[in-house]
Amino acid sequence: MRKWVPRLAALVAVGLLFAFPAIYNRSDYNFVMHLWITAFFYAILASSWALLAGYAGQFSFGHMAFMAIGAYGTGMFSNYLFFTSAPTNLCTEFRLGSRYLVLLDPIGVSSTKKNCLEIASNSWPADVLVWQPSIWWGILIGVLLGAVIGFLVGALVLRLRAAYLALFTIGFSEILRATISAEIPLTRGQAGLELPPLFPHGITLLGRTFSATSKVPPYYVMLVLFLVCVAFMAWLESSRFGLFIRSLREDEEAAAALGVNTVRYKILVFVITSMMAAAAGAVEAHYIGIITPNILIILQMSLVIAMAVIGGLESIVGAAVGAMIIQFALEFLRNSFTIGSVTVDMSIWRLVFFGLLLMLTLRFWRNGLIHPILLWFSRARTKEETVATRQITEPAAASEVQEES
């Protein structure tokens, strides 16, 4: 009975999340919708990091780097790739049948310079068409980039453990951030790369039309992405994959001695979690509309780690729920309050409380705060079962030995 409670709760929660944009009608609608979208974004990152660090034991600090790879992958795609029906003779271009694939020159930060496509279009007749490939291709490319680089990083860190892996991935992340910051002509550096919204021309859902800036379509995109990721990871967890990555976390040599191809599963877990981080990053980038190298600063990574730790490192769902709760708590804790003559400026102090919560969790609830609740349901009656079966089997075993001798 008790084992079904979490599933039922999950079903109700998913139903509520789907209905939320239609039910909620307070004046802070857009703000709350934005919080939810960001919460889903962090939930994907925290839960996929939980799979990587909590299940497989790979304490990577490079997870946000993969998020950035997804974001910049699709960002570059939507800024540099165009189709035209006539050659520009100025840009780098490839003829594909009757159309031309045009690669723009680096944008740079100065806004006055016209790009080669704009210059060419001035001299074109009116019937020449210019269009962009769907941004979904960009997101797909971002995800594939995440997979390829995840594979390479996974292969490189095969022999690294614990602190060495952490240092390596911090190094990787910082190199990526520095590269993005430095490649100003291409990425516009700290000025930020602009991206088109997820639905540039708006979208009609169930008879209702939403504009390009509406929060509702991105809400559903991020929610569906989140649910797909969590469902996929939950399935992985219950499959041989979940069993094997946990065994290699516990003892790599012992797992290998029992026939587990530890190299394959270690790389696979890097590829899978990197793809999820990249997907979350790509969608978030289109939703926010602008990305800067600051999305992969260490502080951001620490936030994701803290969310996973507080939720429960060894639980996909725990980490996801933890991320959502913390995302909301951090926002609502912004409200300052007054005790007597002292005013507590919560916009600063909330981070202190957050840090305190993290430290207390690490000290007293190493399984996180959400995970133990889930365990209470899923491991219901294990204790009673152990005691009961021991009472049945032990006298029997004892009498068996007696017979033998």
Binding site: R240, L243, F244, R246, S247, R249, E250, D251, E253, A254, A255, A256, A257, L258, G259, V260, N261, T262, V263, E314, R379, T382, E385, T386, V387, A388, T389, R390, Q391, I392, T393, E394, P395, A397, A398, S399, V401, Q402, S405
Partner: protein
């Protein structure tokens, strides 16, 4: 038939030659003891057989297949299983999950459910069935040793190496490990037991390999090996408690009257003296 062929295996760690031209052959379901003083190269040999280490030179064939270039997981899949000197259970996984790891690694596309019955049978045999859903870290040291043996039953290899299976084990658990060895040997598997417990080794094994400074100095019937002057010489040449033990057993002089391990016959008396037959403390 199971065959293991070790040809002229050498292993150097820097300037240290840990194994020096080790060669032997195993045919069929043999029960072999491997002894030698600390630093003789027993564990290194195990690691080479299991693929964790590559020999500096020499080859290893299992059932006619060359296995020394294989990584450990492949050696395991080809049919060689081992335990570790220090118990290595998957501590933050349940007892059943520990057993599912080798079962699923050996059977692609299989599910946990398919092995539940077999796993419970194994746990019953090892008397730890009641702990099936507990985390392995909750088990006692001895129970974790049993769990390791259980994992080997699920892996079902042809050839098994037990590294110090009796170290720090209570006589009651020892009896279960004895039964375990009889069971796998009875199933036709070859077993190599590494142990410093000379009584056990002499009573269990039907063939004895003696390593000393990386050289295989004796290989044969325990009764003959124990009288081999080279072995006695090698062991007596050191001031070492354990080695004196060997010479004691080799000389055939018992420690106490109640503990007489006479080549196999010592087993039943061991059970009696361990108090297993009595109260069975429930």
């Amino acid at each position: 038939m199971i065959t293991l062929r070790v040809n002229e295996v050498n292993k150097n760690f820097g300037g240290l030659q840990v194994l020096n031209g080790v060669s032997f052959e195993v045919k069929g379901s043999e029960l072999i003891g491997l002894i030698g003083p600390n630093g003789a190269g027993k564990t290194t040999l195990t690691n080479i057989l299991d693929g964790a280490l590559k020999p500096s030179s020499g080859t290893v064939y299992l059932n006619g297949k060359r296995i020394d270039p294989f990584p450990p997981y492949k050696v395991a899949q080809v049919g060689l299983g081992r335990t570790f000197q220090v118990t290595r259970s998957f501590r933050r996984m349940t007892v059943l999950e520990n057993l599912y790891v080798p079962a699923l690694a050996m059977n692609h596309g299989a599910s946990r459910k398919q092995f539940e019955k077999q796993a419970l049978e194994v746990l019953d045999f090892l008397t730890i069935a009641h702990l099936r859903n507990e985390y392995a870290r909750a088990l006692s040291g001895g129970q974790q040793k049993l769990l390791e043996l259980g994992r080997l039953l699920m892996l079902d290899p042809d050839f098994i190496i037990l590294d110090e299976p009796f170290a720090g084990v209570h006589p009651k658990l020892m009896e279960i490990i004895y039964q375990w060895i009889e069971r796998v040997n009875g199933e036709g598997k070859a077993v190599i037991i590494i142990s410093h417990d000379m009584d056990t080794i002499f009573s269990l094994s039907r063939r004895l390999l003696v390593l000393n400074y990386g050289v295989l100095i004796a290989d044969g019937d325990p009764a003959k090996v124990r009288k081999d002057p080279v072995v006695i010489e090698a062991y007596l040449g050191h001031d070492n408690q354990e080695l004196r033990e060997v010479s004691r057993v080799a000389a055939g002089s018992p420690k106490t009257a109640s503990d007489i391990p006479e080549n196999g016959e010592g087993r039943t008396s061991r059970v009696d003296s361990s108090g297993l037959t009595g109260e069975g403390d429930a």
